[in-house]
């Protein structure tokens, strides 16, 4: 297994630049997830690591060796495609053995490797089948098997679970995680699903419009998003945002207003007095209680998920989503009370989107 170092990597198609100077270090045995909205360049970055896309400028090192001009055949990386890309005319066993036979391995060694991979992935009973007779989950496993038989330097995953239904996706997610724990393979995983990113990653790279917004562990990203984009992207339901002007009260404490009501801001915001800021609050961090008639917010929609209840509310014309584990007896149109705790607030510059607190 190996480390991957990316230095100031850019990618242009003609005059259109899609990646703007990416810097990233992926340590040996690390599981790194590239996440971002469609078109942010995450798949392009992965394909550049794989060698399937040319590098316009910058450097790519694998295990300390510059790989910019090395063909995908010689990079010794394995890739799991979104479409699985199984060879339709080969059986499961032949699909998995293909890379080994290309390397001129002996038949007995190939059989052993394929057998081992099949055992790990519970594919022993399907080795003689063609891909077309397999279910989506089984095809997914074959694609993984094809990658693991090779013991490559690193695994690259390009949205491998996006073709599966929700239940199977959760199951396969756990299998990938377990596989990574047992193989300890350096992995780069692309997804647009932030839940996948949070659950799988040692570190997450959040990308937006061809740039890296933030790199960090899942909890770092959740607890201290560096930009408004990351704050809005990570976490479900998405973070609530409202804009306000920073004012100081008589004691010199910073606050802003939601409608007529003052809301205290975190300490340290005094320096921003007079500035327009965007305040973010996670739906889980807004305590809600049923109110008689004088509540400050009105319920628009109630979503029961069983364990949690999501309330879509309106407060002074602003939409809020609140998640609670309390079994509140509220319906659409009811009034509720929301509390805002400045310790849970994420404050961003309204112009640059950068974190201020």
């Amino acid at each position: 297994m190996s480390s991957i170092a990316i230095r100031n990597l850019t990618k242009s198609y003609g005059s259109v630049q899609v990646l703007h100077g990416i810097d990233l270090d992926i340590a040996d045995e690390e599981f790194v997830v590239l996440v971002g909205p469609s078109g942010c360049g995450k798949s392009t970055l992965l394909r550049m690591i794989a060698g399937l896309e040319d590098i316009t400028a910058g450097d790519l090192h694998i295990d300390g060796t510059r790989m910019n001009d090395v063909s995908p055949q010689k990079r010794d990386l394995a890739m799991v495609f979104q479409s699985y890309a199984l060879y339709p005319h080969m059986t499961v066993a032949e699909n998995m053995a293909f890379s080994l036979s290309l390397r001129g391995k002996q038949k007995s060694a190939i059989e052993r490797e394929v057998g081992d991979a099949a055992r790990i992935l519970h594919l022993e009973d399907y080795l003689d089948r063609l891909p077309k007779s397999l279910s989506g989950g089984q095809r997914q496993r074959v694609a993984m098997g094809r990658a693991i038989v090779r013991h490559p330097k690193a695994f690259l995953f390009d949205e491998p679970l996006s073709n599966l239904d929700a239940k199977l996706r959760t199951h396969m997610r756990a299998e990938i995680k377990q596989l990574h724990q047992s193989l300890g393979a350096t992995s780069v995983y692309v997804t647009h699903d932030q839940i996948e990113a949070m659950t799988l990653a040692d570190r997450i790279v959040v990308m937006n419009a061809g740039r890296v917004e933030q790199v960090g562990t899942p909890l770092e990203l959740f607890d201290r998003p560096r930009t408004r984009f990351v704050a809005g992207f990570i976490g479900a339901p998405a973070m609530n945002f409202f804009e306000g002007k920073v004012e100081l009260n008589e004691q010199g404490k910073p606050h802003t207003h939601i409608g007529p009501s003052p809301v205290a801001l975190p300490e340290g915001m005094e320096s921003q007095a007079g500035a327009i800021v965007t305040v973010g609050l996670r739906p889980q961090h807004i305590p809600v209680s049923a109110a008689s008639t004088d509540g400050n917010a009105r319920v628009e929609l109630v979503e029961q998920t069983g364990c949690e209840t999501n309330l879509l509310l309106k407060l002074a014309g602003i939409d809020f989503t609140v998640q609670t584990r309390d079994r509140l007896e509220v319906n659409a149109g009811d009034a509720v009370n929301l509390e805002f705790d400045s310790r849970n607030m994420h404050v961003f510059d309204s112009n640059s989107g950068q974190r201020l607190n």
Binding site: A50, G51, L52, S71, P72, Q73, D76, L77, A78, M79, F81, Q82, S83, Y84, A85, L86, Y87, P88, H89, F98, S99, L102, R103, L130, P131, K132, S133, L134, G136, R139, R146, R150, N163
Partner: protein, 276 residues
């Protein structure tokens, strides 16, 4: 009768006039080829011959040199199919997969070449092959036919190649296969249905081609089957329908064999299940 069976019966009913159009010439060929000469011109004609008479075929092969004509045709058609595929396969692959400058213009150019009837080029072609010393050379026809049907083959193969997901080749590259190896071991097997259809079209076109063969192959022993058949009609004092029909029947056999041998590829959807 179920609804599906009803619909199927209706379709057959609608198609049956076409079936007559297709089968009638075969019935005529078979019926006439198996009759004696004097039986054909009887006042009351019947579909079934009095007795099965194979003398026409024997005459055809023994005295009229039709076997030679068939061999010439087979040589030219197989040759033209192979040469045209040998060029069209890489060309279509490049058009489908590589970044080739002027790709669109080239495709249009290929299409435009199909608008020109070969007849108008025949004088020029004759002069070209005369200059190359290839008049009365079967290979001249191999090259001429392959050149004429190549554009179509490129066009058709490219359309088929475009349907093969690029992921499959990329997966092969990641597995360590060179471009050539991934072409041979992954791409080519998946393209067999497309290649089969293209070969079939090229083969049939070449097999049926008349004007060029007539012009370039001047010697009787080099004539192709269609030219030979045309010459059979032009005997001095009579038209020997029994011989002509026997010849036309025999001439359809190779095409039927080629069709039958590759038809399994035509209906096999190989790429199914490889990618979701």
């Amino acid at each position: 009768m179920t609804r599906k069976a009803k619909r199927s019966a209706l379709c057959w009913l609608g198609l049956s006039p076409l079936l007559i159009v297709v089968l009638f010439p075969y019935a005529t060929m078979l019926s006439t080829a198996l009759k004696r000469k004097d039986e054909i011109f009887q006042f009351e004609t019947t579909w079934l011959p009095d007795s099965l008479y194979f003398g026409n075929f024997i005459e055809l092969f023994a005295n009229r040199g039709f076997g030679r004509a068939l061999l010439n045709s087979l040589y030219i058609s197989f040759g033209a199919t192979l040469v045209s595929l040998a060029v069209a396969l890489p060309a279509a692959y490049a058009l489908s997969r590589l970044r080739v400058p002027g790709k669109g213009t080239f495709r249009t150019y290929l299409l435009v070449t199909q608008l020109i009837s070969p007849i108008v080029l025949i004088v020029g072609l004759f002069r070209l092959f005369a200059y190359l010393g290839m008049i009365n050379d079967l290979n001249a026809l191999v090259f001429a036919h392959s050149a004429f049907y190549m554009a179509f083959a490129v066009w058709m193969l490219q359309s088929y190649f475009d349907t093969i997901p690029k992921d499959l080749e990329e997966a092969a590259w990641m597995d360590g296969a060179s471009r050539l190896k991934s072409f041979r071991r992954v791409f080519l097997p998946l393209c067999l249905p497309g290649i089969a259809v293209t070969s079939l079209f090229t083969f049939v076109n070449s097999w049926n081609e008349y004007a060029m063969s007539l012009t370039i192959l001047r010697e009787g022993s080099l004539q192709t089957a269609p030219v030979k058949i045309a010459f059979l009609t032009g005997t001095l004092y009579e038209t020997e329908w029994n011989i002509i029909m026997a010849a036309t029947l025999v001439a359809t056999v190779p095409v039927a064999i080629v069709f039958a041998s590759i038809q399994s590829y035509l209906i096999r959807g190989l790429s199914l299940g490889g990618v979701k």
